[in-house]
């Protein structure tokens, strides 16, 4: 099935992303902050830290990461708790936790607009905010939402209306690492290069196994574009 | 999900109210049989088992008729808050109910009254001097409530404490009686509790012949208190025997 066949309300092709925008250092009091938008989905992330000490129950030999999710309206519910957990674990895997042992870094995620693919947008925003705060990272991470329509074709970065219509979707996070600080040695053990790995995968809805792999592949291809955008926007602002 | 408040639970209806009134009338008579066929002075069959939850330092499961309780004991461990130095240990108790424990759903969660009663019933039996500066947590979960919950919780908690190896002067066992008119009925079920005229619960350390906790509601004459207390104390010492044999069994069983 060709991607041109899919009809999308906003006239995008199946693998076309919504316009991306990223601005950093938008908050003055925070140690690092970033505003990331994908179409009408807008997330503001602020990083505070590293502050001394970890919460009880966390490993004091490593840096601890705390994620606080602020929904656009209302109180935090189960969905937001799940987002917090996924975001926290994702960020833990890209941060170099051993550099600042016994510290806590807080990431506060404020949703400004939700038009689908909210969690990927928040992950991208948090990643940019971490860079802005100068938190040592192993590599960047980019996140994307892949939707699977009833007809079995994959659409990228669905809007909220599309998310509700489609059969299933997957939030995927990929590393962005050609210039990674990781030595080549560690990835040499395996046959595939590191950027083909998956950091996070959260799926909703039933899909055939093959379609999941299809999603992975398409997501990975698109993530290169987001990586490129992220890198460019980071570089332009550091100069 | 339907948020319409016009809800009902299938078993609750006007019939049930009538039934309850009938029962209340019945209980006033001098001679009646209990619904589960027990005699007035006969306790429900007690099933006790230690080691119900491996994550805890000690735990116990108790099933008295329809009442089922699990108690886990954690510690002695670091006190939660940075409280003032204390040369004796602290005891922290919490009782909660599952959402499906009672006939009406959703009346679950923490039970503050029972938590503090459990604390009072146990603190006299535990040798707090053996774990200074630290806290022992006793957490109880009532899986199903079928009457006489608090005595079962206390009994089960004392067994869990023994399983955790916390030093105690003696095992604590607890039994309650209900009073209906002139009758005294031991170990009441929740149906009986709902229409009782009075209730007496005794928690004691049978080997030391000491009462650690006693509560009484309703109007009682001294003679009746005498009779009820004797009944409770007798049942408590018998219950303690069952607890002891349960612990011995667990200790002798190959681990």
């Amino acid at each position: 099935m060709g991607e041109m066949e899919v009809d999308r309300a906003d006239g995008r092709t199946a693998s076309q992303l919504r316009p991306l925008a990223c601005s950093r250092n938008t908050l003055h009091r925070a140690h690092g902050s970033a505003r990331w938008s994908q179409g009408d989905t807008i997330v503001l992330a602020a990083v505070y830290g590293p502050k001394a000490g970890t919460k009880k129950g966390e490993n004091p030999e490593k840096a601890s990461i705390e994620v606080i999710w602020k929904p656009k309206t209302g109180h935090i519910g189960k969905l937001e708790k799940e987002y917090e957990m996924v975001l926290k674990r994702t960020l833990q895997s890209i941060c170099l936790l051993t550099i600042h042992p016994n510290t806590t870094t807080s990431i506060i995620v404020q949703v400004l607009g939700d038009d689908g693919a909210l969690l990927p947008c928040a992950i991208n925003a948090s990643c940019a905010a971490l860079v802005d705060a100068g938190i040592p990272l192993k590599h960047l991470a980019v996140s994307i939402c892949c939707g699977l329509t009833e007809s079995g074709s994959v659409i990228l970065d669905p809007t909220k209306a599309e998310e509700q219509k489609i059969q299933a979707f997957a939030y995927l996070v990929f590393p962005n690492s050609p210039l990674s600080v990781l030595s080549k040695g560690s990835s040499a053990e395996d046959d595939e290069p590191i950027e083909h790995g998956t950091i996070t995968s959260v799926t909703h809805g039933v899909m055939p196994v093959l379609d999941y792999f299809n999603c992975l592949e398409r997501g990975r291809a698109a993530s290169a574009k987001i990586s490129e955008f992220l890198r460019r926007s980071l570089e332009s602002q550091t100069k | 999900m339907a948020t319409n408040p016009s809800t009902y639970s299938p078993s609750q209806s006007s019939e049930r109210k009538q039934l309850q009134q009938q029962r209340r009338r019945l209980f006033q008579e001098t001679d009646w049989t209990r619904f589960d066929g027990r005699g007035f002075q006969q306790c429900r069959p007690a099933f006790l088992k230690t080691g119900a939850a491996s994550a805890a330092s000690g735990s116990a499961f108790a099933a008295f008729g329809a009442t089922k309780v699990i108690v886990s004991v954690f510690g002695p461990r670091e006190s939660k808050k940075a409280m003032l130095y204390s040369s004796t240990g602290r005891l922290n108790c919490n009782v909660s109910y599952t959402a499906f424990s009672t006939s009406i759903r959703g009346q679950s969660s923490d039970h503050k009254e029972y938590s503090s009663m459990l604390h009072k019933a146990l603190e006299g039996a535990i040798i707090l001097e053996t774990f200074p500066k630290t806290t022992v947590d006793v957490f109880a979960l009532v899986v199903e409530s079928g009457g006489g919950d608090l005595p079962v919780i206390i009994t089960c908690a004392s067994l869990a404490l023994a399983d955790a190896g916390i030093m105690m002067y003696d095992l604590v066992s607890s039994v309650s009686v209900s009073c209906f008119g002139r009758n005294i009925v031991i170990d009441p079920t929740s149906e009986e509790e709902a229409c009782q005229d009075g209730n007496l619960m005794i928690t004691c350390m049978p080997a030391r012949n000491e009462v650690t906790q006693v509560t009484l509601t309703g109007e009682w004459s001294t003679a009746k208190i005498n009779e009820a207390m004797e009944l409770c104390l007798d049942a408590c010492s018998k219950l303690a025997e069952i607890m002891r044999s349960c612990l011995k069994e667990a200790a002798s069983a190959p681990s």
């Binding site: - | 109210k17 309850q20 209340r24 503050k112 009254e113 503090s116 009072k120 603190e123 006299g124 039996a125 009073c179 509790e193 709902a194 229409c195 009782q196 005229d197 009075g198 209730n199 004691c204 350390m205 030391r208 012949n209 000491e210 009462v211 650690t212 906790q213 006693v214 509560t215 009484l216 509601t217 309703g218 109007e219 009682w220 004459s221 001294t222 208190i225 005498n226 207390m229 104390l233």
Partner: protein
């Protein structure tokens, strides 16, 4: 809360052993009790009871409500106790909640009888207006203003006094057309019905300090207690409720002994309360 030196502790123990307590009382003597009624004008009944330096205020408000489905022929009574931080700094914020709920529970146990309603100190069936439809909800609110031990006895006495002072407005009922309708109830502003308080018990707390037990312990004495048993006794010498505080175990025979002592002391307390109530009523009428 009460920091006592070894010498002071010894003095308390010694005094109790010799039946001469630090304030000159004997073991089974109450402190002078002073009673005021009608201290809260907007309530249906209210009282202020002072037992030495312990000072409590109780107000009773009656509101129209619906009887519970289990007891359609009875009104409802709710007891709430609040410990004001003026009584002790540790009641600040949520610090008083634990004690407050403990006191509320103990009072409920002693005043409201068994689950079936038998043995209740307050006659709940007199609170019903239309069976199954309308009844009075009696809200008993206690406030501990100053605390010097023996709060439970003081609160129970204050509730008894406040109930004597309580007037429930007379009502006239216009039954609705169909039996399912909620009937209209007219509440009279002028006519009040006096409440029958003959069955309301008093609470006698026996505090065990050393080898003896005492009544009406001050907070210094309470800090040295090993256990305390609160026994509620009514006019007929029946026991209406019993709770135990303190961790130490008690021999069953001691408990029975305490019960008989409490019955005796309770009688005296009740008669002294009665005369205080009469005096307070007389002085209220004078004004």
């Amino acid at each position: 809360m009460v920091g006592l030196s070894a010498g002071e502790k010894h003095f308390i123990y010694g005094g109790i052993a010799q039946d001469l307590r630090t304030d000159g009382r004997q073991r089974l003597h109450y402190r002078p009790i002073s009673v005021e009624i009608g201290v809260i004008p907007q309530a249906n009944g209210s009282s202020r009871v002072r037992l030495g330096a312990t000072d409590v205020i109780v107000s009773i408000k009656a509101e129209l409500g619906r009887p519970s489905s289990l007891h359609p022929d009875k009104g409802k009574v709710a007891i709430f106790i609040d410990c004001s931080p003026t009584a002790a700094p540790m009641f600040e914020g949520r610090g008083g909640e634990e004690l407050s709920s403990e006191l509320s529970l103990a009072l409920q146990r002693c005043l409201l009888g068994g689950r079936s309603g038998a043995g209740a100190g307050i006659d709940l069936s007199s609170l019903v207006i239309v069976e199954g439809k309308v009844c009075w909800d009696l809200y008993i609110d206690g406030l501990v203003v100053s605390s010097d031990g023996n709060l439970l006895d003081a609160l129970a006495a204050a509730i008894k006094v406040a109930l004597c002072n309580t007037g429930i407005p007379k009502t006239t009922v216009n039954l609705g057309a169909s039996p399912n309708d909620q009937p209209d109830v007219d509440v009279s502003d002028e006519e009040f019905l006096q409440f029958d308080t003959s069955g309301v018990p008093v609470i006698v707390t026996l505090t065990k300090v050393g080898r003896h037990y005492i009544v009406d312990a001050t907070s210094e004495e309470e800090s040295q207690m090993s256990s305390a048993v609160s026994i509620s006794v009514n006019r007929h010498g029946q026991i209406c409720g019993l709770t135990k505080r303190g961790g130490a175990g008690l021999d069953p025979s001691v408990i029975l002994d305490m019960i008989s002592v409490a019955k005796h002391v309770g009688e005296q307390l009740m008669s002294s309360l009665d005369s205080e109530i009469a005096a307070a009523e007389a002085s209220a009428e004078d004004q």
